[in-house]
Structure formats: C-alpha cells, structure tokens
C-alpha cells in the first residue's frame, strides 16, 4: 500500500499556507514534517486527515482496500486536543472510540486494557479521564491509536506534553507500527527517536 500526495496546496481565508507539496510513502515508511511555527505543519496534517479541503492537488492510496473512498478513512488523526471526555472513565473513552471507529481492513486493534498497558498506564483505566495529568492524558490518547487499527497515523506534535521516559515509549510504539507495515506522518519540533525517515521541511509561504 502506498500513500501518494501530488502538488497539494491549501489556503486559509485569503492566505496561501503552503504550495505544491508532494510525497510518496510506502508501507513501513515514516515522514517527519518539520518547520517553524506558522509554516503550515498542522494545516498539512488537517488536509491529509480530510478536515480541510486542499486548494489544489490530489491525495490517493495505491494498492489499498477497494472500498475506501478517501485515505482519511484509513487514518488515525491525533491533533493538539486529545478527543477524550473528562467526565468519562479512561476505559469508557477508549472502548467508545474502539467500537465507534472499528478496524480498517488488514488489521485489528488490541484490547483496551492492553492498549493502556502499552502506554505504561495500566491499572488506572477505571478512573475518570479528567483526573489524569496532561502527560498521562496525552499517553491515553495514544492508546487510542492502538485500540482501533488504522494503517496510517497522522500525528500533530505527538510528544509535546511528554517527559523523556514517555518519549522512548512513544518511539517504541511508532517503531512497532512501522514494522507491521504502517505509515506515519508526524509534525514535530523535537526529534522523535526514530530510525530512517523521510523528512519534509516546511518553509512557510511568503508572497
């Protein structure tokens, strides 16, 4: 399976955010998007997630399941916010997303308890999500990536609130995902601790 982007550009209001972005990612490959603030990293990820319409260009899947209309249906998107409810317990949150999202063809998500263990937070899944600290919440949001299977991960600043130990844990998760033939696109300021990756330097667009 390959994810292909050809000549993507996006605009917000009147401003062109980025122009003519192209890349091709095969199974097991990662793309790290870097660049200064305001260079359009988040916008690019939102375009890839289908949340913003691309001004021009095309995004497609080669060799993927036939019934998929858009690449975003095969994608996990982890934005700045965690998409978890403070009032519900961690388990309720995770199992809701697991049941609501379902699995993409070609894989299956792991059990909620196992997902919590994978991010190093086993044993507190019965507690309300709101009790958790910012870093713990972020890690639980990552457990969501494991609970429902998606071949493509789109991560926006995934390690922003994490300490060094959790950074390593995250790198291990991503490596395991890539080894299973997943695709990763991450926007970040910090090195993610991955092996060989493609990288895309966003320069920002000036008129």
């Amino acid at each position: 399976m390959r994810l292909l982007a050809e000549g993507l550009s996006a605009r917000r209001g009147e401003d062109l955010i980025f122009n003519d972005i192209s890349f091709a990612l095969g199974a097991g490959e990662a793309l790290v998007v870097t660049g200064p603030n305001g260079s359009g990293k988040s916008t690019l990820l939102r375009v890839l997630a289908g949340l913003l319409r691309a001004e021009s260009g095309r995004l497609r899947i080669e060799g993927g399941p036939a019934e998929i209309a858009h690449p975003y249906e095969l994608s996990h998107y982890l934005g700045h916010r965690n998409a978890m409810k403070q009032e519900l317990t961690v388990r309720e949150n995770l199992s809701f997303w697991q049941r609501f999202m379902g699995d993409s063809p070609g894989g299956s998500g792991i059990d909620v308890a196992a997902a919590a263990e994978a991010v190093g937070l086993a044993g507190i899944t019965h507690l309300p999500f709101g009790y958790l600290s910012a870093g713990q919440q972020r890690r639980m949001a990552m457990a969501k990536l494991l609970a429902a299977y998606r071949p493509i991960w789109l991560l926006d600043e995934p390690t922003a609130a994490l300490d060094a130990g959790a950074d390593k844990l995250f790198a291990a998760l991503v490596t395991a995902h890539l080894e299973r033939g997943g695709i990763l696109i991450a926007a970040t300021h910090q090195p993610l601790g991955l092996g060989s990756t493609q990288s895309l330097q966003m320069k920002g667009f000036t008129h």
């Binding site: 190093g120 937070l121 044993g123 507190i124 507690l127 309300p128 709101g130 009790y131 958790l132 600290s133 870093g135 713990q136 300490d163 130990g165 959790a166």
Partner: protein, 256 residues
C-alpha cells in the same frame, strides 16, 4: 511555631470526619431501630384512631402530610445552619452536612406535595391550587432541586460548598414565608393548628398519632442524614484515593 499550628490544624481537619465516622457507626443502628419502632407505633395509631366525621378516611393522609411538611422545612433549616457553619466557622463537616441534607429534604418536600395533592383532590376538587402555602412549598422543592444540581455540577467540593452555602442562606427567606403564608394571606390551606401560642386547636385524638409520626419522621431524617454524611465523607475519601492512584501511576511509569 507556625509549622506546629499547621500540623495541629491539619490533624483536627482529619480527625473531625474520622471521629464523626466512628460516632456515626455507633449511633446509626440505635437511630434506625428507634425510627422503625416509632413508625410502627405511629402507623398503628394512625390507622386505629377514628376518622373525621367530615373528611372520613382521607384525614389519615394528615399523619404523613404534616410531618413531611415539617421535615421539609426543618431540613432546609439544618442546611441553612450548615451553610453558616461553612461560611462563618469553616467547620469541615458543615458542607458535608449541607450537601447530604439536600436530597433528603427534596424527598420530604416531594412527599408533602404528593400527599397534599392526594388530600386536596377530594377536599378542594383539584389536584393543585396556586395558593400561598402550596406555591411556597413548591418553590422550596425547586430550590432543593436547584441546589442538588449545583452540587453535582461542580467538581471541587470545597468551592461548590461555599457557593451553594450562599445560595442556601439567600433561599432561607422562603422558610418564614412558608410558615406564615397561611396567616399573611387568605388561602385555601388551613392555618396551623398544632404549633400555636395559645395551645393546639386540634382534637387530642388526632394529636397523638400525629405527634408520634412527627417524632418518627424526625428520627428518620436524622438517621438518613447521618448515613448520607457518612457516605459523602467516604465518597470524598475515595475521590482523593483515586487522585493519589493516578499520581502514583505516573511515578511508577517513570521509574520503569
């Protein structure tokens, strides 16, 4: 010295609820038994005394209605005193008491409203009339529900206690209005006939069952209130334990 006094204050803060829990464990069974016995006696008296020659059997509703209405007001008074305790003396148990009393008070008020309505239908020909007594009790009911909603809406018990204490004290205005509404306005609801300066005007035959039911209801209130306070203290302890569990989970993961 300041360290020492801080330690003492912390100790007494902790000790008060703990002592309360021990006390509650000891007195609750006695209260429960006394309540049950008094209810048995009160109900037996209520059903064996003769009915009113005008109202027939429906007069027996009074033995539930009147104590429930008294308790509805008393419960609010307890809440108002607790609110004062929270705001003025900062007693650690005061907000627990106020929070625990609200649902109980709402239940008694609801009981008073329902029994009053059942009584009103044969007497006045309508389930509900908007006279001063009934309306003010209904307002009391809404206030109870509003306070419950307020307590539930706020996460932090200490902050919600102070806010709802202010509201409780403001709402206390309603209690004298309920009590004297039948005298200030000319209403359908009959005026007070038991608690009067010139002695009760009610027939002694009705007074005995009414009196025992009133004592039974009061004991029931205290039983429920103490049990609810105990539950609230336990609930807060569970919450703080859970928060601790979350913090230690983070530390374990870091150690790995």
């Amino acid at each position: 010295m300041s360290e020492n006094s801080l330690a003492i204050r912390k100790f007494s803060d902790l000790a008060n609820p703990t002592r309360f829990l021990a006390l509650a464990d000891r007195v609750l069974p006695w209260f429960a038994v006394a309540t049950a016995l008094l209810f048995a006696a009160g109900l037996w008296l209520s059903f064996t005394t003769e009915g009113d020659y005008q109202q027939g059997e429906t007069v027996r509703i009074m033995y539930v209605h009147v104590p429930a209405a008294w308790l509805a007001m008393m419960c609010y008074t307890v809440m108002a005193i607790s609110a004062l305790g929270t705001l003025v003396w900062r007693h650690p148990l005061a907000d627990v008491s106020a929070k625990a009393a609200a649902p109980i008070g709402a239940c008694f008020t609801f009981l008073a409203l329902v029994t009053g309505s059942l009584w009103g239908k044969p007497m006045w020909g309508a389930w509900w009339v908007w006279d001063a007594r009934l309306t003010s009790v209904f307002v009391l009911f809404l206030m109870y529900l509003g306070l419950i909603a307020l307590n539930r809406a706020m996460d932090d018990p200490a902050r919600s206690a102070r806010v709802s204490a202010v509201l409780v004290l403001v709402g206390f205005v309603n209690i004298p209005i309920i009590k004297f509404s039948v005298e200030w306005w000319n209403t359908l609801h009959q005026p007070a006939s038991v608690l009067r300066l010139d002695g009760p005007t009610i027939d002694p035959e009705f007074l005995w069952p009414l009196f025992s039911m009133a004592v039974a209801f009061t004991l029931l209130f205290f039983t429920l209130h103490i049990a609810a306070m105990r539950n609230e203290i336990w609930r807060r302890r569970v919450t703080s334990l859970r928060r601790q569990a979350v913090r230690s989970a983070g530390r374990e993961a870091q150690a790995l």
